[in-house]
Each structure stands twice: as C-alpha cells, then as structure tokens.
C-alpha cells in the first residue's frame, strides 16, 4: 500500500490504440488500486490490469499531448497511455515499478485475495486434485512399481515431491546413491505408467558423469526401470538437450549417460534449446508482432528469425518420439535435460497427453499440470518472474507447453474436452499470483509458505466454471483418439494469434464460430428440457380433458403454472442470442481479471459491430 504515492485517480488520460497509425485514442480516467491498474474510458468500458501481470513499464519522452507510458504485460497485453501531466506520469510509473515487482511472496495477490470461501471449502478446493489417486488410476503401485518413502522429508531431493514412485526392486541405498550422481539430487522416478503396455515414462536430471565418472547405483536404478517393463528389456534415455549443450556440461562435471556403462539403454538427443534461447525467442516474436503497420514479409521473416515455431516443433517432436517408443516399441523411456524441470516437464507431460485421453479432459489436464509441472518442481515463480528476481531465470517454458497443446487441439478438434479458452485462462493465472497453485518453485517451498492455509487453489474455480471452457465439438467416444499421432510437417505450425494477440481484438475474426456453437450446444440442452416440460404439460392437459372431469378446482390448480410457462416460452423464442451467463467471470475476482468477459462480448455478438477501419485501410495518400 505504501507504494501508492500518487493521488489514486488521474483524469484525462489517453489510451492509444496499439496498432493505429493515426494515433487513435480513447480518453478516460486511470485508477491505481492496491492490486490493479484500472482505466475507464468515456464509454465506461473498463480495462483492468493486475499489477502482477505487468512485465515492464516504460516512460517515453514527453510529447505535446502529455507523457507517454507503455506497459507490457505477461499475458501479452500492451497498453500505451498518455498522461497529461508529467508529474502524474512519473508517480504512476514509480508506483507500478514497485507494485509489479514484489520482493516477498507474502505481498503477492494470492495472500490477500478472498473469494469468500470458508476454511473447509478452501481445504476441499486444495484436495480436488489428488496425485495419489492419479497414480492409482495409472495402475501403480503394482508388482513392479512402488511408492518410495525415501524423500518423505525432502532429504534426498528438495525440489521433488514427498511421494515418489520407483521400481520395486530399487532399494533405498540404490536410490540414495543414484541421487548423489544426479544434478540437484533429481534421480530417476516414475512420471507416467502405461498400463496396457506396462511401460513407463520416468524423469530425472542429468548425471554428474563429467568425462568419465560412473555410478553403480545409478546404473542399477536404470536397470531396475528397464526390468520393471516385462515386455521390453531395453529402455530409451532421452536427453532433451541439443548434443552440443550436453557435451559442454561434461566440462562442469555434469553431462549425459555413457551407453557403454548402462546395460540395455538406447541413448537419444532430441535438441530442445535452453531457457535463455526460449526467452529471447519469445522476445523477438513479440517485438515483430508489436510493429505498427507490419508487412507480410516482415511478419514471416520475423517469425522465422525468432525461431519460436521451430522450438515449438522441437518440443512436439520430442513428445512424439516418447509416445512412439511406448506404443510402437513397448519400451520404457527415461527423460532428462539439465535439471529436469523445464524441458523434461514439457516432454513428459506432452508425451502423456498424446498417450492418455484422460489428460485431454478438463479435470485430467489439471492433474497433468499438477503432476508433471507443479509437483516435480517446475520453477513457476522464477520462470514467470513472480517476484523481483533474476531476469535470466524467466522463461516461457510453460507457455510453450500450452502452445503445443493448442496445436494439438487444432489438429484434433474433437479430441479435447476443453477449448482454447481454458489454455488462455491457465496462462493468465500462472502470472496472476491470484491463486496459490503456481506460487513457489517446488513443493517444499509451497509447504513452507503454508499456501494451503493462506491462499486458494485455482482448480475448483475453473471446474465450477467449466461451461466456459468446454469444447462443443468434443467427442467423448475418446477411444477413437486413444493415442494422438500429430503430423509435425512445418506447415502445420501456425502463429497462435489468440495467445499473443489476445487483447488486440482488431486482429481477430469478427465472428467466432466457436462461441456460436458453444452457445448453441448449451441452448440445445435447454431446449431438450423445455420439450420434456411441454410434453408433460400437454399430457396433463390431455389427461384432464379425456377424464372429462372439468372441475373448477382442477383448473385453478393449473392456472398458477400457466403464466410461468408463458413467460418462459416468450423468453425461449429469443434465446437464439448467446447465453451471456456462460461467459461470467470467476466469482469474486474483479470483472476484468479475466479477459474473457471482454472477449466474449465482442465475439458473441451475432452481428458484428462496424469495426474500426484502422486495419482495413491504408491511409489515403496521393
């Protein structure tokens, strides 16, 4: 609170259209609250920006109309204000700088956010996703795999969860020995068990092999993993890094497995770049797309030189390699990168998603994120820059995972229970710090923060609102899509406009097929109900008539119902219009935390408004 220095209200602020070449703008009032920056324009349209979403604030040189302030958000919103007085601008700038970069977890929104739930509801919310249940669903523990208590007190590995599944024949000394030979103690453990094939996806970090070091326990553990697969004795070890990077690591005493030291392993590099390459790739992509009056050639050469789609394809190809090893060769696979929490999470989770249709449901996708990302210690806080920390730790690794899933939904429009809106909403909340799920970098840290007592879980809120995220074309006969086999020919990878331009509505289609079908689906359910009601009412009437006993009492008993019915019928005839209810925001959050309310209004119009000419038209020049 003490950061808010300015009078919280600044009037006569202009919001410039990001892509307008003619500097079109809206005038309104800017409010700075403890959690949000709010702009209300003269049409009373509200733009809410959560402080935690702010990636950068920039004050540009003073112009005749005022002092420009450019705010870039982590959810890819870019706003450009012009504040009439420099003093105000400076105040807002300073306040935002501090408000957007908190030093302590306790200052994050989640610790003050109150959705009006009592403690037991809160606890229930946290219990919604139960990973023990999930491993049971996969079929472990079983005769080959068991729950290990080795890390019960985070003694072996601080960044792993307490509960870990390992081959039954791997004894504790072997586990401890192996963990000492793995970077950050992240020894090989089970990530996904394929029940039909009896094959496993395991994950770990790189071995501390240097140029020649070996570790018998680690070799034993890998052998135990391959022995836990009764069908196929050899296993794949996928190093998701480019070979050159892995070799360079050897000089630092790290590296990769030597095939000669391990029996029955097939070693494979898959060449996904590291977090730094990914960060600058996204940076380049955003620079290109933020250009005013972008030409087609600049767009494609920018897309190419950013390398973004190349990286997405690399992640996807790695996941396909993983899924094929299991389905085609029936082999277990061990996946690692350097620390085993970025690329490894991407590949393991995406591979599981290809293999198991459960992860393509709304609930299943939450479980998948909870398992391969949250519990295995993907460093959400650092990667999303939630606290004022090292900018070199920030990287869009999870965003890439979401994008890969989006590409799959594009190729298999009926295979996913959820829609793009669900992916965007999750992306929104890894940065929002509104819920506890993505705070911290590992489970141990989360426990120390007492997140389950002090914050709320996102999942129950998403689940409650799942109507908004349902894919109307989802085919629940998912047996048709047991294993997804996406085609990764380059032309299948497209720029994800709805992610990277989610707030630039002038770039979007003016009518959304998706929303129309979604609403129609909802309406169909209602109509089915109406038909049942009507039929029973007609039946009642007919019965009465055939009974021939038309007493006044009976009629009276019918009458109270009729007006009701009539109003509902009148209403029905008009419900061709979209059901706005389905687009409500998350209860309790401010209306615009959740940009879907804005989106949906625009999209759900059955007739498009006459939209601005900005894009349509080049300026008239003679």
């Amino acid at each position: 609170m003490e950061h808010i220095r300015t009078t919280k209200v600044v009037e006569q602020v202009k919001l410039l259209d990001r892509f307008s070449t003619s500097n079109k703008s809206l005038t309104g009032t800017l409010y700075l609250t403890a959690t949000h920056l709010l702009f209300i324009d003269s049409h009373q349209k509200e733009t809410w920006i959560l402080h935690h979403h702010i990636a950068s604030v920039e004050k540009l040189a003073l112009t005749t109309s005022g002092c420009p302030l450019v705010i870039q958000c982590k959810n890819f919103r870019t706003v450009h204000f012009i504040v009439p007085r420099e003093r105000d601008c400076h105040d807002i700038y300073n306040s935002l700088l501090q408000l957007s970069k908190q030093a302590k977890y306790e200052d994050l929104y989640a610790f003050s956010y109150n959705p009006k739930q009592n403690d037991s509801e809160r606890l229930q919310g946290w219990q919604l996703i139960d990973l023990a249940e999930e491993y049971k669903r996969m079929g472990v523990p079983n005769s080959h795999w068991q729950l290990s208590d080795a890390n019960r007190d985070y003694k072996i590995c601080e960044t792993y969860p307490r509960e870990l599944y390992v081959p039954r024949i791997a004894s504790k000394p072997i586990i401890v020995g192996s963990s000492k030979f793995r970077s950050k103690g992240r020894f090989p453990v089970l990530s996904y068990y394929h029940q039909d094939k009896e094959a496993a996806i395991c994950r770990c970090s790189q071995p501390l092999s240097g140029f020649s070091a070996r570790c018998l326990e680690d070799e034993h553990l890998l052998q135990a993993i391959s022995k836990a697969n009764p069908v196929n004795r050899y296993m794949y070890v996928m190093d998701t890094r480019p070979k050159l990077n892995a070799m360079a690591n050897r000089a630092a005493g790290k590296g990769y497995e030597n095939e000669d030291n391990y029996s029955n392993i097939r070693f494979q590099f898959v060449g996904i770049e590291n977090i730094h390459v990914m960060r600058s790739s996204l940076q380049k992509l955003l620079e290109v797309n933020g250009t005013k009056g972008l030409s087609v050639n600049d767009f494609y050469s920018g897309l190419e030189s950013s390398g973004w789609l190349r990286h997405i394809k690399a992640v996807m190809d790695a996941a396909i390699f993983l899924a094929k090893a299991i389905t085609v060769e029936n082999a277990s696979v061990l996946v690692h990168c350097s620390d085993g929490w970025d690329r490894t999470s991407q590949v393991c989770s995406l591979g599981s998603l290809l293999l198991d249709s459960y992860y393509r449901t709304i609930k299943g996708f939450m479980v998948l994120i909870e398992k391969d990302w949250i519990s295995f210690g993907h460093k959400f806080s650092e990667r999303c820059g939630q606290l004022d920390g090292d900018p070199k730790e920030v990287s869009p690794v999870f965003t890439q995972f979401l994008e890969c899933v989006w590409h799959l939904t594009e190729q298999f429009p009926q295979a996913f229970e959820f829609s793009e809106a669900f992916l965007l909403q999750i992306h929104e909340h890894i940065h929002s710090c509104q819920f506890g799920n993505f705070l911290g970098n590992c489970q141990k840290e989360r426990e120390e923060l007492k997140l389950k007592e002090k914050t709320y879980s996102l999942w129950p809120f998403l689940l409650e609102d799942q109507k908004k995220y349902l894919n109307p074309l989802y085919s629940s006969e998912s047996h048709r899509f047991t294993v997804l086999e996406p085609n990764t020919v380059s032309f299948n990878f497209k720029f994800w406009r709805n992610m990277y331009h989610q707030f630039d509505r002038t770039l979007h289609p003016r009518q959304s097929v998706f929303n129309i079908i979604m609403n129609m689906n909802e309406q169909n359910k209602q109509l089915e109900k109406d038909i049942k009601d009507l039929e029973s009412k007609i039946k009642q009437r007919k019965n009465k008539q055939t009974d021939g006993i038309l007493t006044k009492e009976l009629l009276h008993s019918v009458h109270p119902e009729s007006p009701n019915l009539k109003t509902s019928l009148c209403f029905k005839e008009q419900t061709l219009l979209p059901v706005n209810d389905a687009l409500r925001t998350i209860e309790g959050s401010s209306p615009a935390d959740n940009r879907y309310s804005e989106y949906a209004e625009e999209f759900s119009k059955s007739e498009p408004a006459v939209v601005s000419l900005e894009y349509g038209v080049a300026r008239m020049t003679c």
Binding site: S490, P509, Y615, G616, V617
Partner: protein
C-alpha cells in the same frame, strides 16, 4: 480432327494409381478424348476421372520395365500411375502430352484469336446427367441486375452502344452509364481509354447513392492528351460540390512509365474534382511465379521450419493478398465512410481493377455474400467485365512454358474472399467449398461458363447453345446443399476485414489440400453441422408443442368461461 487418332494405347490393365490419402488402387487405365480414367472394376472403390484439360504437367520415369507417370493437375493435386510395360507407358505418356500440347496450343491459338480449337474442348461434348431446372445462361441478365438499383436512382441508364462489340471488344453488349451521357459521347470516350474500356458502372451503394465505376487507363500519352467527353462522363457521377476518388491500382511510377506507350493516368488539372490514389497490385508473371513458388513450398513436406517460413515469405502470395484486400477496403471506405464515388482502373482494367471492384462489393453489399449474389457478382464483374479467363487460367502452378498472359488473378480474388469469410464466418451464405469449386472450374471444367476471354468470344463460340452453364448445375438444390454455410445469418452491415499479416493465414483448404489429411477437420465440421441441425429440429419441435399447448389452453379456457 479425331481424338481417337491421338490415342495410341487406349487401354492398359494392371495400372496402379497412387493418390494423396487414398490407398493405392490397381485397375484398368483408359484414355478417351477428354478423360483419363482408372477403374478397378470393384464396386466399392472410387474410379478416377481426370479431365485432360485439368492436367498442368506430366513427368515420366522408368525402373526396368515398370514405367511411372506423374500427373500434376491444375488444382495442385499430384497423382502417380505405375504402368507395367515400357511401350504402354510411353504411349500413354505421349498421348497425355499431345493432349496437353493441344490444349495449351489452344491457349496460344486463342491469343491469336482463333477460336476454332476451343470447340474441341470437353464442354462442347459434355451431356449433363441432371435435369436442368433453371438455365444458368439466363440466370443473371444485365437488365435484371439493373432493375435492382434502378428503383433507387434515375441517374443511370443501360446503353446498347456495344451491341456489336465494336466500341469495346472486351465489354458485354449492355453496359450501365450515366443517363446524361449519350452513346455518341461513349464512342468518343472509348477511343481515349485502353481497350475501349470507357468508364461504366460497377456498383451502386444504395445507402448513400455513391458508385464504383471501372475503366481502362486513359490514353494520355506523353503529351498529356485529354478528352472532354471522358471528363464530362465521370463528372456526371458526382453530386454538386462533391469530390470523387480515382483509385489507380498501379504505383505512380508504373503509371508514369505507361505514358511512353500511350497510356497514362488522369491529370489533376483536367480532373479537378477528383483525387487520385495509387496502390500497387501486381500483375501477370509476378503473380504466376508467386503461385508456383507457393505451391512448391507447400508440396515439400521435408522443409524444416525456417525453410518453410522463408519459402512462404519468398512466395509473396500473402503480400499480394494483403495489397489487394487493402485496396478493396480503401475503395469501400471511400464509398461508405467518405461518401465519395470512385473510379477504379489499372492498365487494361481487366485484372486488378476487377479484384478491387468485386471485393469492395463483398465488403459493402450483403447480397454479394449470398450464393446467388456471389454468382451474379462473378457473372457481372468477372465474366461480362471481360476478365480473360481463357488466357489467365490456361496453366497453373506446374506449367513449364511460362506465358505472360497466365496469372492466378481469379484465384487471388477467391483467396481474398476466403480471408473475409474466415473473419466473418456467419455473414456468408456459401462456404469454403463453394470457392474451391469455382477455382477448379475456372481452370478445367465440363461447363462452358469460364471458356473464352470475354462476351464477344463467348458469343462467337455460341456457348449458350452448345455448352452447359456452370450455374445450371450449381443451383440445383442437391448441389447447393454442399456449398451452403450452416452458420449463415443475414448480416446487413458493411463488413470491414482486418488486413494485418497476423489476420491473413495461408488458405489451407486450397494449398495444403493434397498435402495433409483433413479427416479430423472434416469430422469436426460434420459435428458442427449436426449441432446446428439438431438445434433447428429442437426449435421447431418446441414451437409445435407450444402451439399445441396454447390450443389446449384455449380449449380449456373456452370450456371454463361459459
């Protein structure tokens, strides 16, 4: 000439056909005067019927005595035939080559305005297997089109000055011109405009009475020739005190260069009420090369990401799309927002001019987004307006002999329509398949609609008597259902598309059609149609039940009241 003489081997057995996304089929290959047919003689497998005129190029190669012919079609499909026996293979290949030459020679002859060999083409032999309910040749008569806006304005008239095609060989016999300009003046203006293409009405915007006119370039030459009648003609379309815009689809530089060849552009001094805007829409071989590069990029599945993106960029196809759409939006903006009439021309006024005038109408005029309205638009703005289909669509992306008159002008137009359709998926009565069908028929067809380069040629060829119109076939209810957009809801507004590169994707339905399976996408589309159909069904049922209940209620009420 008898086709039979050209076919050395009319039949080969045990030929194996490879097509994208179909299992290989073994069967008998037959070569007829117009088709290449492969039949497996099994009930459940589809036969291949390929029009010779759909073949763009062929390759042949041999491994031992097994010959392989690779046929590249104008619709970008590539099929492969494995033919046992070297001699048979050579004979088949040479026959296809002869046909290919014959049909491409037709184009050459056509350029020399010899029409005889066109009459060898399939539409002159095709006998429809369906009953013609409505003869498409008479579906869109200029008089009917004129009636649509003659109720709103009396400032225009139909002129028959070009009845004999003497004033302008590429114009239809009937054109719409300002009422105050007589035929004599039109004849004079025609001598001042490229190809005799004097300014005519293209579109009348009922909302505010503004118009789009189109023409050929003015023949000002280097000495700044002027024509009083021309100035009078276009000024006749302006309201008192109003200015108009002339959109020249060429850059100023290009327009200036044409003066040396007798062409030019309107000088400010002579057209003080008009403001000239130059845009630069490419033409001819630049477009054809762009298409060739794009199709080549799409056909190579081995490209890595960088290579694919750089090839897509280098093709420049989407740059052309953006430029054309931007110009059309500009034209529509002048009409609807600025309240100003416009004249559009490039050099000849038969290519980029028509792209712009027709797209501007898609943006402005709800009727042109219906099936019939769009057909009328193509009839009016492309066929009657004299877009030289025969020349432009002679060859497609695989042609080896690059002729300067070949260019995918019409395909670019269809792509632009698709882009708008994608941005306004509920505002069009037709779907993507309709556009794809039009593309196919423009390049190879059993119908006469796209034969010839203008009305004058079509008259001489007696197409109306000797061939069937595409519209006769398309407008049958059974065919129409394939082309109808289930999401259509009439939208009477002007629709402004976004032309940012992020909003203009590659038209996968055309360019990746043969390179990837669309199975899952098709199934999803079907599911969407099911949901919509089910919705209609439920609505109807609710309405019936409601009426039924209301009737019962009144019955009860009547029994109650006495």
């Amino acid at each position: 000439m008898e086709f039979a003489e050209l076919i050395k081997t009319p039949r080969v057995d045990n030929v194996v056909l490879h097509r994208p996304f179909y299992p290989a089929v073994e069967g008998t290959l037959c070569l007829t005067g117009h088709h290449l047919i492969l039949s497996s003689r099994q009930d459940n497998t589809e036969e291949l019927w390929l029009l010779h005129s759909n073949i763009d190029a062929i390759d042949k190669r041999f491994v031992g005595s097994l010959g392989t012919i690779i046929i590249k079609c104008k619709d970008f499909r590539i099929i492969q035939l494995d033919i046992p026996g070297m001699e048979e293979c050579l004979n088949i290949a040479s026959s296809i080559e002869v046909f290919l030459c014959l049909f491409s020679r037709i184009q050459v002859l056509q350029a020399l305005s010899t029409l005889d060999s066109i009459t060898l083409m399939y539409p002159f032999f095709y006998r429809p297997m369906f009953e013609v309910i409505e003869d498409g040749w008479h579906s869109f008569l200029p008089e009917q089109e004129f009636e649509l806006y003659s109720s709103a304005t009396s400032e225009w008239r139909l002129s028959y000055v070009n009845k004999e095609f003497a004033v302008c060989p590429s114009y239809p016999p009937i054109v719409t011109v300002p009422k105050s300009i007589d035929d004599e003046a039109l004849r004079k203006v025609a001598t001042f405009r490229h190809g005799g293409r004097f300014p005519v009405l293209s579109y009348y915007h009922k909302k505010n009475g503004m118009v789009i006119m189109r023409s050929g370039q003015p023949l000002t030459g280097t000495n700044g020739r002027r024509c009083k009648e021309d100035e009078k003609l276009i000024n006749a379309t302006l309201r008192a005190g109003k200015r108009g815009y002339i959109i020249d689809t060429r850059s100023l530089n290009v327009a200036q260069q044409t003066r040396a060849k007798g062409g030019g552009f309107e000088q400010e001094a002579h057209y003080p009420q008009w403001r000239r805007i130059h845009k630069s829409i490419e033409r001819y071989h630049i477009l054809q090369e762009s298409l060739i590069k794009l199709v080549e990029a799409c056909n190579d599945q081995t490209h890595n990401m960088d290579r694919w993106l750089s090839k897509l960029e280098a093709s420049n196809w989407l740059t052309h799309i953006k430029e054309i759409l931007t110009t059309a939006c500009l034209a529509a903006q002048c009409i609807d927002r600025e309240g100003a009439s416009i004249l559009i021309h490039g050099t000849e006024g038969t290519d980029s001019t028509l792209q712009v005038t027709s797209l501007a109408q898609i943006i402005l005029e709800p009727r042109s987004r219906t099936i019939r309205g769009f057909e009328a638009l193509i009839e009016r703005e492309w066929l009657q307006a004299g877009h030289p289909f025969q020349q432009r669509c002679a060859q497609s992306a695989y042609c080896n002999t690059k002729q300067k008159w070949e260019a995918p002008v019409f395909l670019l137009f269809l792509d632009c329509v698709w882009q708008i359709l994608r941005q306004f998926p509920c505002s069009f009565e037709f779907n993507e398949n309709f556009l794809i069908m039009l593309f196919e028929h423009a390049y190879a067809s059993q119908f006469g609609t796209f034969l010839g380069n203008n009305e004058s040629e079509r008259c001489k060829l007696k197409l109306q008597q000797k061939t069937m119109s595409l519209w006769s076939w398309v407008n049958q209810p059974s065919e129409l259902s394939k082309f109808t957009n289930p999401l259509f809801e009439a939208n009477n507004l002007v629709i402004w598309p976004s032309v940012a590169p992020q909003s203009l994707p590659l038209w996968e339905g055309i360019f990746l059609r043969w390179n990837r399976s669309s199975k899952y996408l098709d199934e999803a589309y079907e599911e969407m149609v099911n949901i919509i159909e089910y919705n209609k069904e439920l609505q109807a049922k609710v309405n019936i039940l409601r009426r039924q209940l209301a009737e019962l209620e009144t019955e009860d009420g009547m029994q109650e009241s006495p």
